[in-house]
């Protein structure tokens, strides 16, 4: 049992949003009567709305921002947001060019986002859904659309956000988001279990000295278990699996995102990244960009994930754009250091 620095399990999502807005009231408004936030700025463009269960912050509260989502509907801990909440957030954006919902591919999210899209369409509002399914461990390649979504949603959103900012229409933004989703493949390694954000209970039990590859963030079993080994050994095993799944030939350009879980520090992530870079270089795969962040963070868990995004010219164009939210900041690649 871990003492969580909260006030009451029932209020955590509401109070989290209040605290986030307290620091960021210049950028965001609260959506009335629900757990959601929207950008104050209402550009005339396809609106991007995301959401999902709370608990792996900064996903999803931190994914509303410039070049990202216009609004986020935040469910209770690990529970998809209610349909009503998604609709309220969607309606608080500028939806005249239509709404693209981007969520992760879990039953609850799919059910609620699809229902929200149907209900909005009944009101004459254009709404589509893209469900991110980047977790290569959760289903074999032939059933890739059954895969769960994990850290990769960060990049799908960022690319869709840039495409929307560029003025593309709903069909095109949807296509690009779907392509980004097809091209992004993520695999995770878990070295110790996380804790429920609301109760502080260990989320599951795990043998010490084990690494589980491809485990779901709530402890869903992964594809294999190994004895704990050094960083390089873990990365080697993961990259083997991931590259086999990705089928990226030498010369192909990729973007790399190393994402840390709560208990794993930036030092470890850099050491992981070092090996990822070495392997890609050995294989002759071209690293267009590489970044280390903590954007999808199972709280208190030890581990990390590696996301590889296969790029083509179209995706690259949007990938390269800057993105800014207080919790998800990525400089543009054309002028380093400028978000």
């Amino acid at each position: 049992m871990l003492n969580k620095i909260i006030n009451s399990p029932d209020e955590i999502v509401k109070q989290m949003i209040e605290g986030y807005l307290c620091a960021n009231s210049v950028l965001f408004d609260a959506v009335p009567n629900t757990n959601g936030i929207v950008l104050k700025e209402k550009k005339t463009k396809v609106a991007i709305v995301t959401g999902g269960g709370a608990g792996n912050e900064p996903w999803n509260i931190g994914y509303a921002g410039y070049g990202l989502a216009d609004g986020v509907a935040i469910g209770h801990v690990y529970a998809a947001p209610p349909t009503r909440s998604i609709i309220s957030v969607a309606k608080a954006t500028n939806y005249e060019k239509g709404i693209l919902f981007i969520a992760n591919n879990y039953a609850g999210d799919v059910l609620n986002f699809e229902l929200a899209a149907e209900l909005l369409q009944m009101e004459g509002i254009k709404a589509r859904c893209v469900f991110v399914s980047d977790d290569v461990a959760s289903a074999p390649p032939e059933n890739a659309d059954e895969r769960r979504g994990i850290a990769g949603i960060a990049l799908v959103l960022k690319i869709a956000g840039a495409a929307a900012d560029a003025g593309l229409d709903l069909d095109r933004v949807e296509q690009i988001a779907k392509k980004a989703n097809r091209n992004i493949h993520t695999l995770s390694a878990t070295t110790s279990p996380g804790y429920m954000p609301n109760t502080g209970e260990a989320m599951f039990r795990m043998d010490e000295n084990t690494v589980e590859i491809g485990m779901g963030f709530n402890g869903e079993p992964g594809i294999f278990r190994m004895k704990f080994a050094g960083a390089d050994k873990i990365v080697d095993v993961m990259m083997d699996y991931l590259l086999n799944d990705l089928r990226a030939e030498a010369g192909r350009e990729v973007a790399v995102f190393v994402n840390g879980f709560g208990l794993t520090g930036m030092m470890e992530l850099c050491i992981v990244n070092r090996r990822v870079g070495q392997i890609l270089q050995e294989k002759g795969i071209v690293i267009h960009d590489m970044f280390i962040d903590m954007l999808f963070v199972p709280p208190g868990a030890g581990g990390f994930s590696i996301s590889l995004l296969k790029l083509d010219d179209e995706l690259k164009q949007y990938y390269d754009c800057p993105a800014y939210s207080p919790f998800f900041r990525k400089a543009g690649l054309r002028r380093p250091g400028v978000l």
Binding site: G53, H76, Y106, G108
Partner: protein, 214 residues
Amino acid sequence: MKNFMTTDELKEMFLYVSQQVIESEKFLTEIDKKIGDGDHGIIMSLGFKEVKNQLSAGNFYCANEVFKTIGMTLLDTMGGASGVLFGTIFISGIVGLEPVEHISLPEFAGIFERSLAALKKRGKANIGDKTMVDAFEPAVAALVEAADKGNSLIDGFESAQGRARAGMEYTRQCMARFGRAKSYGRASIGVEDAGAASIWIIFRAMAEWMRTHL
């Protein structure tokens, strides 16, 4: 013993049902933690807390309104897979139904039969997939059979809650094919399904209330 319920009684019964669900939070969460993400009890309890508020605060002139209020409240507050699914269970059965002031077994059976169809359409799960369908479908079948035979309201629900329970127990032997539990594959065998457990808790509470109040 009365063989029907007034709208007020229906409301009272669902207040009792809500309380039973709320008190099962830990139990449901424990189940969901084994092969899910541990939120089921929490969101069921959050949803039914709000159902209690809404039912207590409202005046209802027909059973349809009671069902609709419960369904919309669950849909609006729970989230998760089960928010939509339990919302569907309470809303879809009354769509297009004439106002019912006194509800008896055939109406219950008809409402839940329609909502079962909607649930299966939305969630795509069938018997054996280790979902709430495994408890709900036999419970509904029991209501329909009892109504067809002209059995009493209370008999219908006693039988329904028994079948819901059997359905929940049956989920133990199934391998999950939907929701987060699916990731557990064969490891999901041996554990009940959380949603099926919720269905049983609801039917058990309805039967209990009827037994003591009608």
